[in-house]
């Protein structure tokens, strides 16, 4: 059984365009065997061979080397993490690498050993307190007309600016070569951390850099969800009144008003156009799913079961459906409904299933599942991906522990989630096929990650 999903089919119109397609081969040897997703050459996938020699210093300024260190490391990681490149190892590069177009020797790049298809190169110069970066992307197989990108960036001569500039350039390359999908190098991940002694909402760059505290409630703050335009962060917090949905303005750096509802109010979720929020409230006596305007007005109740209803998430492609968790049949299961509450469909059929996350293209649900639930210790809880139309699913995590709260990157190629597989709860990232899992946090206990929309 092969599951094909094409994350994007947009052609860009010049030679060397790659369409990112992953074929999923599911091997079911016996009932007890785990299912895997496999990707690789020979299955119809062609990752672009990209060579990225270190950018060169453009002048003699002594600050160049410190900034180049940060720039080059960040650029390489961003392109390596993108999931669409076969990065040519630096050990295959020629001794002479270019810092500007005049220095490019095509035959040393488009033949073995590097055998690259694309070449990213450039230079960085500090003058006074200012930093200038020039970067190019060349199709080295097209000697007559190689330039795909030529960019110039100016910013302050700081390591933070060097990092941000590398993110910008990487995103440009990913956008051009990744079929027109915006890269994620400038995206943010919001999460819960207890490292100050209280659970607060924190933020960080998508690669784990720049971890910083956002809320200072001094209580228990959970379930952060950033708005589609990045201007507001909704979360649930234990205040003197009980559990409330609070709204933090990222522009004003403080809480802004949002209506108080009675009961226990949890798990806010933004619609993709930012106009509405779904959340769980027990204002009527037991937790149900509600929808409000982004200002908190126009409250509408969607569910009616007396058992817990929580963790709603919108279909980001259509805005017309909501998936959520309900305990109406005993252990929690994933359900979908129209955004007016009609047409309730049950998605999972057994076990303990929570934390749904809808893919940007609207086709897949991620969730956390203990498939075979028995007495005593339940065993590991893993992240699964399911094609909603066919109900086919594949297990993405396999390394034990409790894995929960998956969240999609906006390019649909990456997943961030929480895992305690190494002994403490931390934020992990992996590709959407389950490969390349790696931790982003180490300090304290870190949970419930939420990837920004851009």
């Amino acid at each position: 059984m092969i599951l094909n999903f094409y994350l994007d089919k947009k052609a860009v119109g010049w030679a060397g365009v790659a369409v990112f397609a992953t074929s999923l081969a599911v091997f079911g040897v016996s009932a007890a065997a785990q299912d895997w997703i496999k990707t690789g050459t020979g299955l119809g996938v062609e990752k672009i061979r990209l060579a990225v020699p270190d950018f060169k210093p453009g002048n003699q300024d002594p600050k160049n080397s410190e900034l180049l260190n940060v720039f080059n490391g960040t650029l390489w990681n961003d392109l390596d993490n993108a999931g669409i490149f076969d990065m040519v190892s630096k050990s295959f590069y020629p001794v002479d690498t270019p810092g500007n177009p005049a220095q490019v020797k095509f035959e040393s790049w488009n033949t073995q050993p590097p055998n690259a298809a694309m070449l990213a190169f450039g230079n960085l110069s500090v003058t006074g307190s200012s930093m200038a970066v020039q970067g190019w992307l060349y199709d080295v197989k097209n000697v007559t007309s190689p330039q795909i990108l030529g960019k110039q960036y100016t910013d302050a001569a700081t390591t933070d600016s060097a990092r941000i500039t590398a993110h910008k350039f990487a995103d440009e390359i990913i956008f051009r070569l990744g079929g027109g999908i915006q890269g994620i190098a400038e995206t943010q991940i919001y999460f819960v951390s207890n490292r100050t002694g209280h659970k607060e909402i924190w933020g960080m760059d998508y690669d784990g850099a720049n971890q910083h505290q956002i809320t200072h409630q001094g209580s228990i703050s959970l379930s952060p969800k950033i708005s589609p335009d990045g201007s507001r962060l909704a979360f649930s917090s234990l205040t003197k009144s009980g559990w409330e949905i609070l709204m933090y303005s990222m522009d004003l750096n403080r809480l802004v008003s949002f209506p108080h509802f009675s009961g226990t109010n949890l798990s806010p979720a933004w619609s993709a156009d930012g106009s509405r929020l779904a959340f769980s409230s027990s204002r009527s006596g037991d937790p149900e799913i509600y929808v409000v305007d982004q200002s908190g007005g126009n409250l509408k109740r969607l569910t009616t079961s007396k058992l817990p209803d929580v963790s709603p998430v919108w279909n980001p492609k259509t805005g017309a459906q909501i998936a959520w968790v309900s305990g109406r049949t005993d252990l929690p299961q994933i359900y979908t409904m129209e955004s007016d509450g009609t047409n309730v469909q049950r998605i999972t059929d057994q076990g303990y299933a929570v934390s749904p996350a809808w893919s940007p293209n609207g086709q897949f649900l991620l969730f956390a599942w203990i498939r075979h639930y028995g007495p005593g210790a339940p065993g590991s809880q893993d992240i699964y991906i399911m094609d909603i139309a066919s109900k086919q699913f594949v297990q993405l995590t396999h390394d034990g522990g409790r894995n929960d709260f998956p969240s999609w990157s906006p390019d649909g190629r990456h997943i961030v989630f929480q895992s305690n597989r190494n002994g403490s709860e931390q934020i992990w990232t992996m590709l959407a096929d389950g490969t390349n899992p790696k931790p982003l946090t180490v300090t304290g206990s870190n949970t419930q990650p939420n990837w920004s929309w851009k």
């Binding site: 379930s223 937790p287 058992l307």
Partner: protein, 245 residues
Amino acid sequence: MKQQRLKWFTLIFALSAIMFLGACHKKTPPPPPPPPPPPPAAPTASLTANPNTVEKGQSTTLSWETSNATDVSIDGIGAVQPTGSQSVTPTDSTTYTLTAKGPGGTQSATARVTVTSPPPPPPPPPSPSEEELFSQNVKDIYFDYDKSDIRADQQSALQGDIDFLKQHPNVQFTVEGHCDERGSTEYNLALGDNRANAVKNALVQGGVSAANIKTISYGKEKPFCTEHNDECWQQNRRGHFVYSK
């Protein structure tokens, strides 16, 4: 030598003259002056307090005697008879001073009265506070995994809670809903809410006033124990009662 004999004759002659002359005038001796009147006697004074130690609020009797005094006063009382007694009730230890004035002078006398505080009354035997009674009598309700309905084996504890709360109808309290560590954060907060409300509803059905009951869910955020075994997990799956001060 003639000089000396002359001097001697002169002296004898002078002396004789004085004797003859004196003897010539015979006078009556003046009468002796009357004896001065004896000086007036100095006043005497004595002052006693009986008893000289009293408990605060009790009275004592001052007694005094004076003589040769025309003006007797005790400070704090005022002018008094030369001899007498008076009851006083000092609030603090006091030294009373009596002053007796008379033509012969002034005499004073003192008496000290010590006032002691009475011993404090013995404390009443302690009776338990309403809060202590609450925690002794109102038992938490325990739940099965993933469930918020009241188990059969919890009914007697629930009934005991209802009985106590109906006997103490002014008691205000909160029911907290808790879960064990195994579930997911958001689902457990919703389940804890169901548990707290299940307990509240059962109490209200039994006749406890709903206005006295607040509910809050803590999900798995505030566990009572942290071991990874069945006993600890059961300990955490509960509706927990907290008295409102």
